[in-house]
Symmetry: C2
Subunit: 343 residues, 2 copies
């Protein structure tokens, strides 16, 4: 992080916006007018436009004690565009609004925006506007993502059919454990400020919580494979909660197999040390930003050989409920816990 400190008041609101957007680049040919006027203008001829929005509040969604501002900026963008990916669409633009107390310096905001710009570069999207305001306390970030899709090719949560395969991307539960690890280190630090945490062998789980990625690559891969999911969404509140959404909106039930849920080795190791069941982390932990989708069984041969995607179960009739078959072969009801966990 930058060590200088310039007070925000020294720039004024418009000076601040100019400062924060001085290196803003446009990458999308559809960006007709970007930051600096009342509104941005996007050309979307021949495509459908998607809009999604995320609000991140200090003390609720992030703790600046262990979240570098650059990572926070990056993650805020990922959180917003992941919803566009969850529609099987391509993110193209974002707006970012922030409310900040004068506790933050210009250098701190630069770090935040450097993370935002880094995400724009990685995901080939344009920052096209926003709002900047003061706040009595804390930091609030609102990101709206705009995406595009070929007409009527977006995928909702409501198309899952009996017999469809349930697929998840990447691995699950690591972000939740990364957060537990950081919370533990914070507690130790607050009690014993001299102790330096050694998290070198925990890079994966911590990276998953501090600097997640949105699965734009999966949207592209599905297109190249000509696979059209029947239902789709991103996984931000845990697999169980997301399956509840798909089952409710598709009016179906589901069966998943505990031994098919994908875990990272480091995640298993940390779960073991914390004495937390890895399955519980995947089902109820948050912030994975992986994708959950259902496909017709005919697609199985296209999906089975890619390491990016795991088939974890199948769709049943609504009356059969939402079930998990454990490693030992027992059948449990799935429980949705996204909100209760107060992520």
């Amino acid at each position: 992080m930058n060590e200088e400190r310039t007070e925000i008041g020294s720039l004024g609101e418009f000076g601040l916006i100019e400062h924060l957007t001085r290196n803003n680049e446009t990458r999308q040919a559809s960006t007709i007018l970007s930051v600096g006027d009342d509104a941005a203008v996007i050309d979307q001829f021949g495509k459908q436009t998607l809009i999604s929005t995320e609000l991140l509040v200090e003390g609720v969604h992030f703790d600046l004690m262990y979240t570098p501002l650059k990572h926070l900026g990056y993650k805020s963008v990922v959180a917003a565009i992941s919803d566009i990916c969850g529609m099987n669409a391509t993110p193209t633009h974002i707006t970012v609004s922030i409310a900040i107390s004068n506790r933050f310096s210009i250098e701190a905001l630069d770090d935040l925006y450097n993370g935002i710009y880094a995400a724009c570069e990685v995901y080939n999207i344009d920052l096209i506007g926003g709002d900047t305001t003061s706040a009595g306390k804390g930091l609030i970030i609102s990101v709206t993502a705009v995406g595009e899709v070929t007409p009527d090719k977006f995928i909702t949560r409501s198309g899952a059919q009996k017999g469809d395969l349930i697929c998840v991307t990447g691995d699950l539960g690591a972000a939740y454990l990364g957060l537990q690890l950081l919370e533990r280190e914070k507690k130790i630090f607050l009690e014993h400020p001299g102790v330096q945490p050694d998290l070198d062998n925990r890079k994966y789980v911590i990276g998953r919580t501090l600097r997640p990625e949105a699965r734009v690559d999966i949207v592209e891969w599905l297109a190249t494979q000509e696979i059209t999911p029947t239902a789709m969404m991103d996984i931000t509140d845990g697999l169980s909660s997301e399956l509840f959404h798909i089952c409710k909106q598709s009016n179906v039930g589901c069966v998943i197999y505990e031994d098919k849920i994908p875990f990272h080795d480091e995640m298993r190791e940390v779960a073991y040390k914390f004495e937390i069941d890895p399955t519980a982390c995947a089902l109820s932990g948050g912030d994975d930003y992986e994708l959950l989708f259902t496909v017709n069984q005919e697609e199985y041969d296209k999906i089975r050989f890619t390491e990016k995607i795991s088939v974890v179960g199948y769709i049943t009739e609504a009356g059969e409920g939402k079930k998990m078959i454990t490693r030992k072969g027992n059948t449990h009801d799935l429980v949705a816990q996204g909100w209760q966990q107060d992520k």
Copy 2:
């Protein structure tokens, strides 16, 4: 306001979203998918899409002691769509995200959303999504507005030319005085809780601050009159600050006449009682949500007879600066004060 109190926690996040959007109607044929999935989908074939966003923070942008939540919901939408009008475009959709502490009940949120829905009805726009999260303290509202315009017909701040007429809609400065009035009554109430304010003869100025309107009607009127402004924006930080934006981005100067600035009679009266110069309120007060635009002199005959629009001055070369000619015939430099006033 509703007198029941239901705790937000009793519904859970998804229950809360369902509750708040249970009466949501769609009015725009272009709304293909609305609230309830990862993102909303809008069809914008043959039009350009505009995106603008506003962040409103309790204690900075509003004081709930004198702001009814229904009005706040309405005003939040107005603030966002006014930016679309400022591009000479038509607002079509909004997303609304809120962060709330558990100080608020479901009934309080219903009031807020009733105001949001009222604005959607008045302005014929669709609420298509959002995010709802908890906040440690206070209320934060983020509104993103989406609009549409015939390709390349949007008007930026950068097209003003020497000799163009400077036009403003409605009247200016009343919202600022309404706010001063409410602040004074709050102070009196805090010192003498028994005293009831009598604001019956102050309905106009108070209405301007609590329940402003966006000038969608002007965008429509300009189209029917076939008037194409050369530069345009909405007036939210005071006329002076907005003229600075247009002069900077168009690389021009300006002259305005103090006696042409439009005031409402009640506003003049309140200004007199507060011993505040009405001109200062118009130049530096905020939240008017009127439109400022420049037109070629050839349009004068179309504009002179409408009461909706006042011609307040003309555009000069950049080197001539930004001037106001006072009622007494003196020439002053304009000063931009939007931010410093901490509105």
